[in-house]
């Protein structure tokens, strides 16, 4: 093994992969949220559909998209790898355990798995339809656009569909609650001056971003 592979397979290197991919995905969430909030504009879905169109046609965004898929994959694969070796580090467990750590920090694997399941469901429902149809079209100013808004609007008219989204966002919130600060600690960014800021932003992010994501299906369902 050369030093490079050696690094990324070391205990600390593997954490670094988790932290970097995690932070990238956090950034992605912001962009994704900004786009999605256009669903709430009262324009019959025009802005959202144009945005969705750009996301699938712009070559730069496409590249970013592939990077994003890679990050998700890396995050998942490294997580599985880490979790498996971590499990072998304690073959015999304790009969009694009182934990002095947060629930979410101990259950990132379960939270992550649930998020992955949600992701499959989510991609299948919207992303797959957008790319490979079947999907209706709509025209704005003479241009044809795939009407993703209608797909979303239809989906969120069902209570169970909306509920899955809201619950999944709650799960995401717990995942972020630990993941955000944890990524900084792994990167070695632990400083007495900035720790409170990281902590504050992390908690705020973990609450606000999933809440806004969840707000969209709720509003659309109620409408």
């Amino acid at each position: 093994m050369n030093w490079f592979t050696n690094f990324f397979s070391s205990s600390i290197g593997r954490k670094l992969v988790m932290a970097l991919t995690g932070l990238f995905l956090i950034l992605f969430l912001v962009v994704h949220l900004a786009g999605n909030l256009q669903l709430l504009l009262n324009d019959g879905g025009k802005a959202f559909n144009i945005y969705a169109h750009t996301m699938t046609s712009n070559i730069f965004i496409k590249i970013v998209g592939y990077v994003n898929y890679t990050m998700i994959l890396l995050h998942v694969i490294w997580a599985i790898w880490l979790t498996r070796t971590n499990k072998t580090s304690r073959p015999v467990g304790y009969a009694v355990s009182k934990n002095s750590s947060t629930w979410s920090s101990r259950n990132m694997g379960i939270l992550g798995t649930l998020i992955l399941l949600f992701l499959v469901f989510h991609l299948q429902g919207f992303w797959y339809r957008m790319h490979w149809g079947p999907i209706d079209t709509v025209s704005y100013d003479g241009e044809e656009y795939r009407n993703l808004y209608a797909v979303v609007d239809f989906a969120y008219s069902h209570l169970w569909y909306t509920a899955i989204y809201v619950i999944s966002m709650a799960i995401l919130a717990f995942h972020l609650y630990h993941g955000f600060g944890s990524a900084f600690q792994t990167l070695g960014l632990n400083h007495v001056k900035y720790n409170p800021v990281i902590k504050f932003i992390g908690v705020a992010f973990a609450i606000i971003v999933p809440a806004l994501f969840a707000l969209i299906p709720i509003v659309m369902f109620l409408n």
Binding site: K15, L82, S89, R90, A95, S101, T102, S105, R106
Partner: protein, 249 residues
């Protein structure tokens, strides 16, 4: 006070272990936890039953030898060593479960005794400054900022008891390893070997079969010496820097 003890008994590393329950009727609240074990062992011997093996030595909370997982927490309900825990921390009639540290890298030798030589091997991989006896500069030749010296001391206060490993859900030894790496990284004396030290100690830690840190911070919460996870962040930095800039290919 009356105490019910559930203690892990295991003949040796190759045998299977099981919990055994003991009833103690005359426990004084002034006893230390280990003295309670002394009394129990004394009774066991007189009844012809084999006493419980457990590690202990200084009984002042500094040698790091005592290592009991008490009621689900390393060293029990207080953030201290087992030897400094007293029975007044428990209620009359309480059931107390005592287990050995559990980690693949800490095999059980007998009852509550585990083998922590992995810690020694990690230190042997680089937890030192390579100076021979004699021929060193005067102690005051290199001034060290008090803040750095204090931080180095905070890290050096680790007693290598292994509570961090025991507490961590991944049985990770990163708090222990990072304390040593931090101590020497903070001092001018540690600079010449700074990079190789980080690389070698982390490699040895991984080879011993300890898990990876997932930042649950349970180690810090349970450390009897209050070693901070800031050290883990520092170790991470040291390790990245070393891996990408050292010439060890």
């Amino acid at each position: 006070m009356k105490i019910t003890l559930k203690v892990w008994r295991q003949k040796d590393n190759n045998s299977k272990g099981a919990f055994k329950t003991y009833q103690l009727d005359h426990v004084s609240s002034d006893m230390s936890f280990l003295e309670m074990f002394d009394v129990l062992n004394n009774d066991l011997v007189q009844k012809g039953e084999e006493p419980i093996a457990f590690d202990h030595d200084c009984r002042e909370g500094i040698c790091g030898m005592c290592s009991m997982y008490i009621n689900g927490r390393p060293h029990g309900p207080l953030q201290t060593t087992t030897c400094q825990l007293h029975m007044r921390s428990f209620k009359d009639g309480e059931t107390i479960t005592v287990e050995p540290w559990r980690a693949a890298a800490f095999p059980v030798l007998k009852d509550l005794v585990v083998d922590r030589s992995a810690f020694d091997r990690i230190n042997q991989a680089g937890g030192y400054v390579s100076v021979n006896t004699g021929g060193v500069p005067d102690a005051n030749e290199i001034p060290i900022p008090k803040a750095d010296a204090d931080k180095a001391f905070d890290a050096a206060a680790c007693i290598a008891c292994g509570a961090c490993v025991a507490a961590c859900k991944n049985a990770s030894a990163m708090l222990f390893v990072s304390a040593k790496i931090s101590q020497l990284a903070l001092l001018p004396q540690g600079q010449p070997e700074r990079k190789t030290r980080a690389e070698k100690m982390v490699a040895q830690m991984d080879a011993e079969g300890f898990g990876s840190c997932t930042n649950t911070l349970a180690c810090e919460a349970e450390c009897p010496k209050g070693i901070s996870v800031t050290n883990i962040a520092r170790m991470n930095r040291e390790y990245y820097g070393a891996k990408f800039s050292s010439e060890n290919v």
